[in-house]
């Protein structure tokens, strides 16, 4: 983990390269995080990769309901040489959940981005194959959002299977 000073230096460097790209920093329990502007997250991540954070350890979605903008896309980056981790957090609103895909930077972002799309409805622009991955492809709704109830998925019985989303005849 970079220390609090190192995080501020990284943030300042990114801010200089891409004006108004960093909205803030978080340093909590020894974990460093950059709050990035969703429109410039791609540039920030590309630069962080050049700065040594070469490995995308995890990519996940978070619903910050009731805060606005609601949906968060979080990137956990790892620097193998310095054994250093940093997270980048970007937020998008639910009415326009658009963010640039990072598959061109890390090919391994493919499945995780599909998962975030599947569960939260965040659309990754430039993703080569943005389909649902865990839910059936013609499923409607985004189950990991906080306003999607637990038990929102009806249990399939014989009497209601005709009404199921998977049935077309």
């Amino acid at each position: 983990m970079p220390d609090a000073t190192g995080l501020e230096l990284t943030a300042a460097e990114l801010q200089e390269a891409f004006p108004s790209s960093i909205l803030g920093t978080e340093f909590h329990r020894g974990r460093a995080a950059l709050l990035a502007d969703a429109g410039k997250a791609h540039d920030v991540l590309e630069r962080l990769r050049v700065m040594g954070y070469t490995f995308l350890a995890s990519l996940l979605g978070v619903d910050y309901y009731p805060e606005e903008p609601r949906l968060g896309v979080l990137y956990e980056l790892l620097d193998f040489k310095r054994v250093d981790r940093i997270s980048v957090k970007a937020r998008v609103p639910t009415d326009e959940p658009l963010i640039a895909s990072v598959v061109d930077i890390w090919a391994g972002a493919n499945f995780p981005e599909r998962e975030v799309y599947d569960m939260f409805g965040v659309v990754f622009e430039g993703h080569p194959d943005l389909r649902r991955i865990l839910m059936p492809e013609d499923y409607e709704g985004f189950p990991q959002r906080r306003d999607f109830p637990v038990g929102g998925e009806p249990v399939l019985f014989t009497f209601n299977e005709e009404k199921s989303y998977g049935k077309w005849q």
């Binding site: 090919a107 391994g108 499945f111 492809e137 906080r146 009404k163």
Partner: protein, 420 residues
């Protein structure tokens, strides 16, 4: 049978494409001399280690492309976890990757402990290491058993599962359950190891290395196995890093990245062990790396058992851990703590934490977001199988379909972890 009312529904693109996949496998001519055939493998196929479905595009016997399709055992555990208090999340999260339950619990508890700023007592850290490493051996044994079974070495299945039973007996001794033990708790472990556990573990540690030698003797001199593993599924290190692959698959290409050494957690820096690495990154290297890890885990276990410190096995913080049973009869305060913990659970200060551990298949990281209540606002597991599966297509492309089965076996995907 359509009665008019239900046939109104439009077929989605997905359904149309699914219908276009025929099981009769008619070849499609690309040129006069080339034909491509789409072959559906799975989701129910023993060699896919779970409900993994593969759509393979074949040219003769050569795999030109393969598309893994997952989600058949998606159970929404991450969603369920948001509806449970922190300590009740542990049993559901253990069921994600069902062969590495201690690791799932460790990653989750580690993330919650980070948010709480909680110190884990040394004895609890050692007890965690003992169970984590036993789990690693158990997981690798199961991989060896089923992997060798796929490659035709049927007897390996019984030999490896025989040793796995011993480990499950140990788990049963320490926690009461053989699988999904709920042993690791926030702040420590649920119970100290019982009398007789250490002796039984020593017995197992004495038996395990010679048994691993026997496996090597059985498999290393087996020409069929060697020919199926050597030089198949080769992928270079850079491709794997781009695809987010960690664990034995990455180490098989010669990269000694292991979180236990690189960023030690839970007192792993107290132990001496080596990180086995491969050279070329083919299926044989993957097999050798995992096999060598059996010996290293035994070494860690011996040291952990030898140096097991005295002291409490769970944090003395009564706001997080249950008070000992005998205190309930004498202390009103203990009774209140017990009641609060069992009914509401403990509250975690707001924040977000990502806690990675080295699982048997690679980096297993748990992300937990707390909003200050007694239930997590978000739990996400970065499961190594999910990321590693992305490297499957580059591994098998332009190889024979028989090698595809060998590569699935050596990839060791756990579908419970992929689909969560």
């Amino acid at each position: 049978m359509s009665d008019g009312t239900t046939s109104q529904r439009e077929r989605s693109d997905y359904r149309k494409r699914e219908e276009s996949v025929t099981l009769s496998s008619e070849p499609v001519a690309v040129e006069e001399t080339h034909e491509l055939m789409t072959l559906n493998i799975g989701p129910h196929h023993p060699a896919t280690h779970g409900v993994l479905r593969l759509l393979a595009t074949l040219e003769g016997e050569v795999v030109r492309d393969v598309q893994p399709i997952v989600g058949y055992v998606h159970t929404g555990i991450e969603k369920t976890a948001e509806d449970k208090s922190y300590w009740k999340v542990i049993p559901v999260i253990e069921r994600m990757d069902y062969l590495s339950y201690y690791f799932n619990a460790m990653a989750f508890c580690g993330a919650v402990e980070t948010l709480l700023g909680l110190e884990v007592p040394p004895r609890a850290q050692y007890l965690r290491v003992i169970h984590l490493e036993l789990n690693r051996i158990m997981s690798h044994l199961f991989w060896l058993a089923t992997g060798a079974l796929d490659l035709g070495a049927v007897s390996m299945f019984w030999y490896a599962l025989r040793e796995r039973e011993r480990i499950l007996d140990l788990f049963e001794m320490s926690s009461g359950q053989r699988m999904h033990t709920r042993y690791i708790q926030v702040g420590g472990v649920i119970e100290d190891i019982p009398r007789g556990f250490a002796a039984k573990l020593r017995e197992f540690l004495k038996i395990m290395p010679p048994r691993a030698d026997q496996y090597a003797d059985l498999l290393e001199k087996n020409q069929i196995l060697l020919q199926r593993l050597r030089g198949t599924g080769v992928t270079d290190q850079q491709t794997l890093l781009e695809l987010g692959v960690t664990g034995p698959l990455l180490r098989a290409t010669g990269n000694p990245w292991d979180l236990r050494k690189a960023a030690p957690y839970s007192s792993y820096d107290h132990f001496e062990f080596k990180i086995p690495v491969g050279t070329v990154g083919d299926n044989y290297d993957r097999f050798r790396v995992r096999h060598a890890e059996l010996y290293e885990s035994v070494k860690i276990l011996e040291q952990a058992l030898e140096g097991l410190p005295e002291g409490p096995f769970i944090t003395p913080d009564r706001k997080v851990a249950l008070p000992p049973r005998h205190e309930l009869a004498t202390s009103m305060e203990a009774l209140i703590h017990h009641f609060k913990l069992v009914t509401e659970g403990f509250r975690v200060p707001p924040g977000e934490a990502y806690y990675p551990v080295e699982g048997p298949r690679g980096e297993l990281g748990c992300f937990v977001r707390s909003d200050g209540s007694a239930k997590p606002a978000r739990v996400h597991m970065r499961d190594p199988s999910f990321s590693n599966l992305q490297a499957f297509a580059p591994m098998v492309r332009d190889g024979y379909i028989a090698d595809l089965i060998a590569t699935v076996a050596m990839l060791d995907p756990i579908l419970g972890g992929i689909d969560r």
